[in-house]
Amino acid sequence: MQPITARAPARAIEVKDLVKAYPGGKTALNGISFAVDRGEIFGFLGPNGSGKTTTVRILVTLLRATSGAARVSGFDVGRMASRVRESIGYTAQATGVDDDLTVHEHLVLQALLHGLSPSREQQRRIGELIDAFSLSDVANERASRLSGGLRRRLDVAQAMVHRPPVLFLDEPTIGLDPQSRGALWDHLRRASRDGTAIFLTTQYLEEADRACDRVAIIDGGRLVKEGTPAALKEEVGEGRLRLTLANGADPARAAQALAACPEVVGIEPGDPLVAYVRSVRPSIAPVIRRLDEVDIRVAGVETEQATLDDVFLRYTGRAPRTEAPAANSVSSLFAAAHGRRRR
């Protein structure tokens, strides 16, 4: 971690060797380190129970770390918790919404709790947020009458009322329909352009892929990989060839043959056989030719672009949760369990 001086503005989030062990002996975080800059959207990816929420709760001062250092806006989350609270906005997985208050009242309450006077400027800010999150139709409705998606949008709007320089969103898009999800991302991107650092957790890889500047994959309380979505995908190859072998071919022998092929960076044995390749189209011919050399005929080829799912699977050995149950990751999990793919 770089020394923090008055001259060099602190990074938005700095985490070093963070450990959280619970009294029962369960270790939720096993020494994680990362940093997030101003204006950056940082996605924290991981399966359930991997330590995502624990990390967020430590960073927003709701939970104390066992050891390690964490600073938000340059303030230590343990020793300077009140300064941290002044500079953050936070939405939890369970939305913190009061059923008896209206949408507008929630935003006013949040502003008042941050010591903002109910000035005209503040009212304008609240009006802007209501518009931006498409809440104008329900501005005077009680939260108990809002749908799950509206509650979620209200929750995120609340977290942004006081223009916090750092925003923490724990699974912000769960339960949102695609349209609200798009609107939310638009708003988050705008905030990040204005310099807001955004730390979010998600299980939706495809979403992190499109919207995050950088992602980190967490599994079992450890950061297993960190980088831009593009860089991470490059490591697993640009895409896949899904090869259906002709009757009687031995998939194991085919896999062996392909291992020697320079275009192929990884193989998932089975039928169809999946070959991870550096670039998709140019490798089709060499791969088929290579199999032909060992007398294995290919009955069909399908091509697929790599997604973060592949990265995730590579580094955690598990498929992430995806939106559609029939998506690739689930079928690859099925393949891992049963040795063949469901089509």
Partner: protein, 255 residues
């Protein structure tokens, strides 16, 4: 605006939004007031009662029913705390740059305002039924203030249970389980001297009994400073025991 004031208003807003809760907690003592004052009138409105200085059974019953109203509001205060824990609202408040104790203080202040209003409603209803506060405005104020103090102490207990258990059902059951003995093991329905020795003994450690006793005196007999001082001492002891315990539970729940 200080966070305590903001949160007091937020909690009061909630009460206004669900007026059924407030109405129910006032309706219950009113129903009891009507029922008991009518069904017991032959039995209790006797020269025996008047010899002790009480004007009527209605006047005698009124302070106990004011206490009943605030005991239910105290129970709701605990339930509201559980609901804030469950909804994530408490976490939201914890990451706001406010003194965390203002979360608790805002709740107690809102409770106090609600209890004052409820005590007043029951008192007015009693007056409409024909009771009169013999000690005038000062006595009226004294009754409302002491009932509210008891209610706040009781709300502290309900919040203690709520924070330690985090469980709405348990908070509810414990609240009702404790409220009824607080009422019945006191002079709320009959003068203590007409009750068995053991009830008189228990009443001596029951803060509600002291508040009800003072209220009954203020309704009919007149102010007794010695009695007032004993009540304040008992309430102070209750506060000294309960408040640190509740604040401790709050700190433990929000660490």
């Amino acid at each position: 605006m200080p966070a305590t004031v903001v949160l007091t208003f937020r909690n009061l807003f909630k009460n206004v939004r669900t007026p059924m809760l407030v109405i129910a907690s006032v309706a219950q003592p009113l129903v009891w007031l009507v029922m008991f004052s009518q069904t017991f009138s032959r039995l209790a409105d006797t020269p025996l009662l008047r010899d002790l200085g009480y004007r009527s059974y209605l006047a005698f019953l009124l302070p106990g029913m004011m206490v009943l109203a605030v005991l239910f509001t105290a129970l709701q205060s605990g339930l509201a705390m559980v609901s804030d824990i469950d909804s994530g609202m408490l976490d939201k408040l914890r990451v706001s740059p406010i003194n965390r104790l203002s979360i608790l203080l805002g709740r107690v202040l809102a409770d106090a305002v609600t209890m004052l209003a409820q005590g007043a409603v029951v008192l007015v209803a009693g007056t409409l039924m024909g009771a009169r506060v013999e000690t005038g405005w000062l006595g009226t104020f004294g009754m409302l203030a002491s009932v509210t103090l008891l209610g706040v102490a009781w709300a502290s207990l309900a919040n203690l249970i709520a924070l330690r258990s985090g469980n709405a059902e348990l908070t509810m059951v414990a609240g009702i389980f404790l409220a009824l003995p607080a009422l019945f093991l006191s002079s709320a329905f009959l003068p203590l001297r007409f009750q068995p020795d053991w009830v008189q003994t228990v009443a001596r450690v029951n803060p509600a009994s002291y508040v009800i006793g003072v209220g009954q005196a203020l309704m009919s007999i007149g102010n007794d400073w010695g009695q007032d001082a004993r009540m304040l001492a008992v309430l102070a002891i209750a506060a000294l025991v309960l408040m640190p315990a509740t604040v401790g539970a709050f700190r433990a729940a929000t660490r």
